[in-house]
Structure formats: C-alpha cells, structure tokens
C-alpha cells in the first residue's frame, strides 16, 4: 500500500494532477455547483467543466504540437501569429464571398487557412532544419512578422464574420459536446497515435537527447524537424480558426496573443524538459487543463482582473517548484526523517510496554 503511494508520488504527473485537483477544489468551495453538468433542451452539455474543456482546447491543440517541437530541442514562438493569420485568411475569404453561409464556402476558407499555416510551418522548418538557425530566432521572425501579415490580410480592420457554418466551429456542439472540445480530443489522440504507434516518437526523442549520436545512427533529423514544425503550425492554424470562430471576429492584434507562452507552459508543467528529449503528451494535456482551470478560477474566485497574471505566475511557479529535482530530494529527506521518527516512536512505545 505504502509502496503504491510512493510510486504514485514519484510519477511525473503526480504533482500536476494534485495541482489540477487543488484548483478544482478551490472552485468547488467558491461555487458549490462548479462540477455539475447540465443538459439543455437541445441536448447540449453545459457547465463550468465544459467551459474549461472548450476554452482550453486551442491551448491544448497548440501545446500538442509544441511538445513535439520542444522534444527535438526546439521551440516555436510563432504559433500565436499563425493563429491570427489563419483566422484572418478564413474570415476575409468568408467575408468576401457572396455566400457566407454556404458550407462549401466555409470549408474552402478553412482549408486555405490551414494550407497557408502548413506553409508557414514549413518556412519555420526551413530556417531551423534547413539553414540551421536557432529555433528561438527562426520562429521569432514569424512571431513578429506574422501579426503584420495578418494585419495586411485584414487591412487593419477587425473583421466580424456572420457565418453560421463558421460559428459552428467555435460554439457548435457535436452529440452535445462542444466542437472545440471534440477537435482537441481528436487531435490529442491522433498525435499520440501518430508518434507512439509509429517510430516517430522514438526518433524525435533520440534526436532531442543526442542529435549527433542520432545522426550517426542514421536518423533523418532534418526531416523530423521539418515535420514537427509543419505539424505545430498546422495545429496552430486549427486553434486560430477555433478562436476566431468563437470570437466571431478576426483580430490581427489579439487573436492568439500570448498563446505560445501558455502552450510552452502547458508542456513544461506536463513534465517535458525544455532541453528536449523525453516528452509526455499526457503531461501536456494535464498542463493545458491546469492553465485553463486557472483562468476560470480567476473568475469564479473573483480575483480582480488586474491581478490575474500574478495569480497565474504564482500557480505555475508552485508546479515547477514541486517538480524540480531539488525539491523532490528535499521532500524525500523530509519523508525519511518522518519515517525514522515514527519508527523510533514505535520502538519507544514497545519498550515502555515491556
């Protein structure tokens, strides 16, 4: 029994899960009905938990791509800008079309946006893998330039879209579950299958841990890096479309703003090291949920909006502290001291009884 507990505490998802549970607990105390899920007359699920799952989906989708990028010792700062570009492209196409409510129009717009996102990812890949420029610099270029590109596409306007099929993406339901949530779950599952059912995950980890050894073993690191940056941008495009649809407007300046930081945080909270190598998609899922739950907590507990960022920082710091090897060692020492004291206590009692 104790063994099971020790193993659980040692698991790398233990503290993130504890943190998630703690956050949920705070919410339940603040709002007793927090965990309840209701079904409305149209058969749609409603409730705070559902909100978390829907609003957290874009971050999760991007964080999945980010996990793979980080595992190869890279980073992608441009995801937020890609979100904005994808949203801008789709919105302006729908707006320009005479039939904004036609499913075909919307599908065409979405596909165009995604193909463009993929192209941007390949550009990142070209800089990182093809030209050997440091990932942080390579993607910083698109991060800065991307918002400008989105601005050009929207001609500096915030484009409001009134299109029923497009709105479905951000606020629709499939079998009662929000479309965004379904998309998040599907993408998460597909990514897990793609990397763990093929050898992609192994090769990504090998490249991340030791690039030179991997090269000498014949691993095509360049191709792998191209793939992960392309995938990451494609997922950012999907997330950008969901965000834009949810806001019913494409805002070149604000769509997906700072989402790269949330995604990186989700990855790190989930236990994947920024130094690359071993990664955990399950960890990223928990990380993304923590971040979204935090945002919700800010509202339910009634923390003033100006203090939101500070609160977020505090929670993230707590999780990172709990995961650090130094803290783990200190906790270990503390536990063994407690155990010794307990044993001594037992021995003393036994002695007294005799």
């Amino acid at each position: 029994m104790k063994n099971v507990l020790n193993r659980a505490v040692g698991h790398r998802l233990f503290w993130p899960l504890v943190m998630l549970a703690a956050l949920l607990l705070i919410n339940v105390i603040a709002v007793p009905g927090f965990l309840s899920i209701t079904v409305n007359s149209e058969g749609h699920l409603f409730g705070s938990i559902i909100d978390i799952l829907r609003n957290g989906a874009p971050t999760l989708i991007i964080a999945v791509g980010m996990t793979l990028v980080i595992a190869t010792r890279g980073i992608d700062l441009s995801v937020g800008s890609v979100c904005a570009i994808a949203g801008a492209v789709a919105s302006s196409m729908i707006l320009a079309s005479p039939t904004p409510n036609n499913v075909g129009t919307v599908t065409g717009a979405l596909l165009t946006a995604l193909v463009l996102s993929l192209g941007l990812g390949l550009a990142n890949g070209l800089l990182v893998a093809g030209l050997g420029i440091q990932p942080i610099i390579s993607t910083l270029i698109l991060m800065t330039a991307g918002r400008g590109i989105a601005m050009l596409i929207t001609e500096g306007q915030i484009i409001t879209v009134n299109s029923v099929p497009f709105a479905f993406l951000g606020s629709g339901f499939i079998l009662g579950v929000p479309v965004a949530t379904v998309a998040g779950v599907l993408i998460f599952a597909l990514a897990a299958l793609l990397t763990r059912r093929t050898a992609m995950g192994l090769l990504i980890e090998a490249v991340g841990i030791n690039p030179e050894a991997s090269r000498q073993a014949g691993v095509r690191a360049r191709g792998l890096k191209f793939s992960v940056y392309a995938l990451c941008a494609l997922l950012a495009g999907i997330a950008g479309l969901i965000l834009t649809s949810n806001q019913t407007a494409a805002d070149a300046n604000n769509t997906g703003l700072f989402i790269e930081l949330d995604a990186i945080l989700a990855v790190v909270i989930g236990g994947t090291s920024l130094a690359g190598g071993r990664y955990s998609l399950a960890g990223t899922l928990v990380g993304a949920l923590i971040i979204q739950t935090l945002v919700t907590t800010v509202y339910t507990v009634g923390i003033p909006p100006i203090a939101t960022m500070v609160f977020k920082a505090a929670v993230v710091t707590a999780v990172c502290l709990l995961q650090s090897p130094t803290t783990a060692a200190a906790l270990e020492r503390w536990r063994s001291r407690l155990a010794t004291r307990h044993l001594q206590g037992v021995a003393a009692k036994a002695g007294a009884a005799r």
Partner: protein, 528 residues
C-alpha cells in the same frame, strides 16, 4: 635498533585517507560490501576491478557523491562525512573524472580557476587569475597559453588542465579516474611525469586505469575489488600480473591467448585458401586537415587493424568511410560499384556501420532504454512509418543482451545507468542489428574492463569468421595485433605501411608508427 616509537610512522606513515568497512546498497544491488581502502601520502595506489566491481562507487563514496550505509571514512585520522564533491574538495580530496568535466567554451585559465576566481572590488581579478593559472600550468611543465580556449586543445591537454585544476586546491589526495583512456603513449608519459611530481610533493594519488602496463608502471600499491567486495590490497612489486588478472576476474583467463592462436591459424588458412572478394575500396580519399590522399581496401571477412597515434588520421579515415564526415575528394566503391558516403545514413544503406570512439557523446542515446538504443539504427533505416513491432523489438533486445552478455536489470533500463563496458556493448548491439557488411570499430575497448574487452574481441573474431569485414582501431597495439589479419599503419595523415599480420611484434609496429619507415617491399596491397 633503538628507535623512539615516534619515528615508526615515518617508516610506514599514517594513511591520509582511510576507508573502513564501507557498504553501499542500491535498489537490488549491494554495490559495496564492507570494503576497506587506504591512501598513503606520496604513494600512487591503483584501484582495480572489472566494470561493476565497485571502483566508481568507492570513489563516489569517498568524494561524498553517495552517502554510505555503514563504515567509516577518516581523513588524516579524523572521521569525516562529505555531503558532496565540493566539500570533499575543500577538505583536500580532489577528483579528475574519466570524462573531462570542464567547460570547453571558456579559457584554460578560467577552467583552472573556475569557482575559485581571485577577486578584487567584488569582481574577478583577471590579471591575478591569468598569473596564478600560468604558475600552476608551468609547475606541471605545460606549455599552453592560459588565455586560449580549452576547446582548441586536444583531449590530452584538457585532461592535464583538469589535473591542474584539481591540484590548485591544495589537494592532499588526488583521484584520477581513467585519466589515460584517451591519451596516446607520449601523452601518457607526460601525465606520468606530472603524477610523479605530485607524488614527490607528498600527495596521495588514487589511480584507476584499465591499462595494466600503466598500472604497473606508475603505482606503488594495488587494491582489487570484485563484485563490490574487497579481494585484497597488494604492493605492486609483490604481485605478478597474471595473479592480478586472476584476482580481478576470479577465473583463469586463457581466452585471449586461445583467441590469438585462432586468429593466426585462420590467417594461415586464408593464405592458402581461395582469395576473398574485396568488399570496400577507397581510392585517393582526401579530407583537408584530416587525411592526405589515401588508398585502402578491405576484403570480405577480413579484419583490418588501423594503427597510429592520435591525430595520425586513423579516426579521420574511419569517419570518412562511415559517412560521418565528408571527403573532399576520392572515390569509395563497394563490391566495385562507386558509392556516395556523404551521411551516416548513406553508409548504413551500404551496410557500413561506424561505431564512434566517443561512446557517450556520439554513440549511445543515454536517456533512452537499452531496447530503444539497440533498435535505433535499424528503425532509422526502416523509416518512422514502419515501426518495428514491439514483440520483435523485445526479441532483438533480449537476444543481444544475452549474446553480448550486457549486464542490465532489463531491456527497459536507461542506458545512462549502465557501466561504460555495457554501454559499449549496447552500441555494438545497435550496429549488429543492422547486419553490417563492414563494421568500423573505433576504440571499442577503451575504458572498459578486461572481461568485457575479451568478450568484444571474441565477438569481432566471430563476426569476421562469418564474413563480416571489420576495420578495427585501438590505441592498444597488442589488441590490434591479436585481432587483425592485416595492419595498416598511419602517420601524420598518411599511410606508411599496409602489411599482413604474420609474426609482427609490438616493437616492430611501434617502430612503424613512430618512424614510418615506408619500406616499399612491405606496402603490399595485400590482395593485389
């Protein structure tokens, strides 16, 4: 003799370090079982044993990296407990590790003084730092510029810089863990000169090396460990080498001699038997700064030994054949067909495998499991879309763990946690899994114990018997002579000899390496 008792310690001075009945357990393993060990001032004490015997554990117990379960450590007669290497170093016990633990992007002076920089006005006193480090280096007769970047020097110099760093802290005891594993003969002599200087100044030195010649040359006292237990402490002059080897491995080791006889008998068979086909042939292979235009051919089933000093071009040639570096010019053919070897991947496609001399940095992927490491090259060759089924992975891992006698708890263990010899075997298994036609082994036995070494040598021999070509590089000439059918000697990036290995002696080979003597009568393209 009428002597006062006070002079007795002079005859046999009190040990600087005395470790008594040290035990350490790791989950599932008793790493050290009541081991005692002493270090005397002005004496070199070698610690010997196979991989996993407990040498590293003992050193780490002494330097406070591991905390001991039971036993006592005394420094100058006082009981001490260190909670880490920094504390041990402050108390006068310095360590130079096997893998150079320095910062290549800093200068030599910065490395020597790292963490103890002389200070002035709250900043670093750069001038004092350069001066002090120059003094230390000249004390070791090392003629290098303290302001130069560490990376610009050879591994050997880096090793000496590490020693300079260790002795600057006024060490009473200096631990040298495999300091010679990447040094060539001259550099070892240089290192030994430094060790003797230190010894004369009264430092107690713990020396760990797998080269028995060096152990006998430098040490006064030997302690042998086996499976975490103390076998005994001996004076070097009183222990015969054969007895030492027996103490280390606990069994008669005639394997190597048998092997030698076998190689030579097959060599004779080859001489009378049919000529084998040439597998790979290089014509005027060149890379600027690495090797001058060079020809080399290797037959199927042939073991070619590459001999030469560090920097002679032996590793450089091997890297070109393995596709790790690109040749500037020249042509390589496989079975007579010209091939391109511009990446390791292309070489692997032609079933040429290069096993790097830098096992940690270019070989194993240490945070992956034994299984993942073994299948890595095979999987990379198949491409990510065709994963090797898990069942097949397990079979492969299990069969190589057994065949190469890899000591690991299971196939899921991280390679990082294995000893050097076992990491080497994992790397070998990776290459064997792709069924290479030519296996290039660059220093496969460096820094590993004699038992594992014998196993690897036996393996090489067996592979060649089955038709695999092997290009074998080793700093140990005995090993090269023992295994090779043919020996190619390189010197200053040029081939100076290419001769069949019949009756060649170590001395003759040394002469070739040192002087080159390009005797044209010897330069037989063996299968001309």
């Amino acid at each position: 003799m009428e002597e006062s008792p006070a002079t007795a310690p002079l005859e046999n001075p009190a040990p600087v370090v005395e470790m008594t009945d040290i035990s350490i357990s790791f989950p599932g393993v008793k790493a050290l079982d009541a081991v005692s060990f002493r270090m005397f001032p002005g004496e070199v004490h070698s610690l010997l044993g196979e991989n996993g015997a407990g040498k590293s554990t003992l050193i780490k117990a002494l330097t406070g990296v591991y905390s001991i379960d039971s036993g006592v450590i005394r420094l100058d007669g006082r009981k001490v407990t260190f909670s880490g290497p920094a504390q041990a170093q402050a108390a006068g016990i310095s360590t130079v590790y096997q893998e150079v633990n320095l910062l290549g992007n800093l200068t030599v002076a910065e490395n020597v003084m790292l963490g103890r920089e002389p200070r002035r006005f709250g900043g670093i006193n750069w001038r004092a730092m350069r001066k002090r480090s120059a003094e230390i280096l000249s004390g070791l007769h090392l003629n290098i510029d303290p302001g130069s970047l560490l990376n610009s020097h050879s591994l050997a110099i880096q090793q000496l810089v590490a020693i300079a760093r260790a002795i600057d802290v006024q060490a009473k005891a200096l631990i040298l863990d495999e300091p010679t594993s990447s040094l060539d003969t001259e550099e070892v002599a240089e290192l030994f000169r430094v060790i003797r200087t230190l010894k004369d100044s009264g430092v107690a030195i713990l020396f760990v090396s797998h080269f028995l010649e060096q152990v006998y040359e430098i040490s006064d006292r030997l302690t042998v460990l086996r499976n975490g237990q103390l076998v005994g402490e001996y004076l070097t002059e009183e222990l015969l080498r054969i007895d030492l080897v027996q103490a280390m491995i606990g069994k008669e080791l005639s394997v190597l001699d048998d092997l030698e006889a076998q190689v030579h008998s097959t060599e004779k068979d080859r001489a009378v038997g049919a000529k084998s086909r040439t597998f790979v042939e290089a014509r005027r292979l060149t890379r600027k700064g690495a090797i001058a235009p060079m020809d080399l051919s290797i037959d199927e089933g042939e073991v070619v030994g590459l001999a030469g000093l560090l920097g002679s071009g032996r590793t450089e040639l091997a890297r070109l054949l393995g596709g790790v570096d690109r040749a500037d010019s020249g042509q390589v053919s496989v079975h007579g067909e010209p091939v391109k070897l511009r990446t390791p991947r292309q070489a692997i496609k032609h079933r040429i495998a290069y096993s790097s001399e830098n096992r940690r940095s270019e070989g194993v992927v240490d945070e992956l499991s034994v299984r993942d490491n073994i299948i890595l090259a095979l999987q990379a060759d198949r491409g990510w879309l065709r994963p090797i089924p898990r069942k097949r992975q397990d079979e492969l891992a299990a069969s190589y763990i057994e065949a190469l006698n890899i000591k690991t708890p299971n196939a899921d263990a991280l390679v990082r946690n294995l000893s050097g010899g076992n990491q080497q075997k994992v790397l070998l298994a990776r290459w064997l899994a792709i069924a290479p036609r030519l296996l290039i082994l660059d220093e496969p036995t460096r820094g590993i114990d004699i038992g594992a070494k014998a196993e690897i040598q036996k393996l090489v021999y067996g592979l060649a018997e089955n038709g695999m070509s092997v290009l074998f590089i080793s700093a140990e000439l005995e090993e090269v002579l023992r295994l090779s059918n043919r020996i190619v000697v390189l010197r200053d990036r040029k081939k100076v000899a290419d001769l069949p290995n019949d009756g060649l002696s170590v001395d003759a080979l040394l002469t070739l390496i040192a002087e080159g003597a390009p005797a044209p009568s010897h330069t037989i393209g063996a299968e001309s």
